[in-house]
């Protein structure tokens, strides 16, 4: 038996022509399948876009990490000197800068101009003096640095040592949560979309029941019979994926133009850039897989039924 000729090469072109024709014939049901795929991938894509931008923000902040050493309000000049000496002796702390109480107050007033009156009513300056040190992000994982921070905290006159990456770490955890939520929501919807495609293909196969029987009688293999249906699902998934990426990009661009950059800190989080091409390809590929899977499920069960 010529098993090697089961799906002749020229048949692949026929699969595609047939699949396109069948999608066109069943426009409405195909539209539902494509819409389901597009919606699920749009939701997944939205989560990915949000996490992508947060991730960028995190990376940016990590690149300029800072340690702030707040001194007690009543720290003596000698204690301040001891801290300065400690920082000078430990190279991990890099370049340091003393922010005096007065400078801290001035900085607050410049950041929050509307609170200037309240601050003016205070009897004394509530802001502590501090040292600001630039450190490299890789130190976040260093146990030596952690020990140095511990020693720093123990020096008399030090009130608090604040590390930037504590909240960067919290933000990264949020990014992870968003990613997981996106994959769970998108995954569930993609499975639902795959089953929608399975039902659409099932309907199409019922519509072509007689034709399939004729094909069998004249010698078509199951692979040849299944081919156009599988390609139909694949095409629906691909179109859904492309639609999802298109809609996501359009929504992103519209939102970016509607929301003025100065209006909120969130702007920086949300609009640092669109998805990288790898994720765009991944989304479209996700649609293709969902479409293929859906059609494979129904094609397999229906051709086995009639075996």
């Amino acid at each position: 038996m010529r098993r090697d000729a089961e799906v002749p090469r020229s048949t692949i072109g026929w699969f595609f022509r047939e699949a396109v024709r069948r999608i066109w014939v069943s426009k409405r049901t195909s539209f539902v399948a494509v819409a389901m795929i597009a919606i699920s991938l749009l939701i997944l894509g939205s989560f990915l876009l949000l996490s992508e931008n947060l991730e960028r923000a995190v990376t940016r902040w990590q690149g300029s990490s800072r340690v702030t050493i707040y001194l007690d309000a009543d720290a003596t000049p000698s204690q301040t000197h001891d801290v300065d000496a400690f920082l000078a002796a430990h190279r991990d702390f890099g370049r340091r800068r003393l922010v005096t109480k007065e400078e801290a107050l001035t900085r607050f007033k410049s950041y929050f101009t509307n609170l200037n009156e309240v601050v003016g009513e205070l009897d004394e300056n509530p802001f502590p003096a501090s040292f600001e040190c630039n450190v490299t992000p890789r130190l976040a994982q260093s146990s030596v640095f952690a020990r140095e921070v511990g020693e720093l905290r123990a020096i008399a006159g030090v009130d608090q040592v604040q590390l930037d990456w504590d909240w960067v770490r919290r933000l990264r955890r949020l990014v992870d949560v968003i990613n997981v939520a996106g994959f769970v929501a998108g995954g569930i919807l993609a499975i639902a979309a795959a089953f929608t495609i399975a039902n659409v293909i099932r309907l199409t196969m019922m519509l072509y029941r007689e034709e399939i029987e004729i094909m069998r009688l004249v010698g078509a293999t199951e692979r040849i019979i299944r081919g156009p249906f599988l390609i139909e699902g694949l095409l629906q998934g691909t179109i859904g994926g492309i639609f999802a990426v298109g809609l996501l990009f359009a929504s992103y661009e519209i939102a970016r133009r509607l929301i003025p950059p100065a209006s909120s800190l969130l702007w920086g989080f949300l609009f640092a850039g669109f998805l990288p091409w790898q994720k765009i390809v991944g989304l479209v590929a996700g649609g293709m897989v969902a479409g293929w899977l859906g059609s494979w499920i129904s094609v397999r069960e229906r051709t086995e039924e009639s075996a």
Partner: protein
């Protein structure tokens, strides 16, 4: 080429379509299968095409035991058989050309050769001018001829036809049978189910008669027919 050994086909306890049928058709033979409606002719043809399995007995076609044939091998076996169905079984949404081209597609004939081959097959049944028509636009007789062209396009080892002249006038019937005879001359083994007694008598071919699922009569080909091997149904 076609061997039935004590074949019985029962659908249920009360309905037996074929009962202990044994016959042999050699390679290159031209045989008529005859009998009244309900005699079991169509069931017998379906068994040859492995549309169904016998309840008892063995069927061997072209050296293959159909009872033992694996499902995966069935399409390749069917490609060696040209079948003209009683209800034509043409795909209505496809044009005449596409109906023929589809057969060539599944056996891997390059698309550029389809037109030439389809045209040639349709020319044989004098329907080459209907290449782009859809089956519902054709008369019953024309559809039957398209079905014949489809069965012949692959130069089958075995050509089977279920009442192929049922919708045709006598002239066209003779013409179609001439086409089968030509295929027979080119090497195809031909088995035609019909109840057209006049056609059978005129042809002088071997006849297997069925009634109530049993073989009731077997007539060999007329001696002059056997010697002449062709020259055909009184026309041409």
């Amino acid at each position: 080429m076609i061997h039935f050994y004590h074949v019985t086909k029962r659908f249920d306890r009360y309905s037996t379509a074929l009962h202990d049928v044994t016959f042999h058709i050699d390679k290159g033979e031209f045989v008529f299968l005859t009998g009244p409606s309900g005699a079991g002719k169509s069931t017998l043809l379906k068994l040859i095409l492995r549309q169904m399995k016998p309840t008892d007995g063995q069927i061997v076609v072209n050296g293959r035991n159909l009872n033992a044939m694996r499902r995966a091998h069935l399409p390749f076996f069917r490609r060696e058989i040209g079948m003209v169905f009683q209800d034509f079984k043409l795909i209505e949404r496809m044009t005449v050309f596409e109906n023929l081209s589809f057969i060539l597609t599944i056996i891997g004939v390059p698309p550029k050769e389809h037109k030439k081959k389809a045209y040639g097959a349709l020319r044989t049944v004098s329907l080459h001018h209907k290449l782009n028509a859809y089956p519902p636009q054709l008369s019953g007789g024309e559809q039957q001829r398209v079905a014949v062209a489809r069965a012949l396009i692959n130069d089958p080892l075995v050509l089977i036809a279920d009442e192929p002249t049922g919708n045709l006038d006598p002239d066209l019937s003779a013409e179609i049978l001439e086409i089968f005879a030509d295929a027979n001359l080119r090497g195809s083994t031909v088995l035609i189910a019909t109840h057209d007694r006049e056609l059978i008598t005129r042809s002088g071919r071997r006849v297997i008669a069925l009634d109530h699922g049993r073989i009731t009569d077997e007539k060999p080909a007329a001696p002059e027919r056997a010697a002449r091997a062709g020259g055909l149904f009184g026309i041409g």
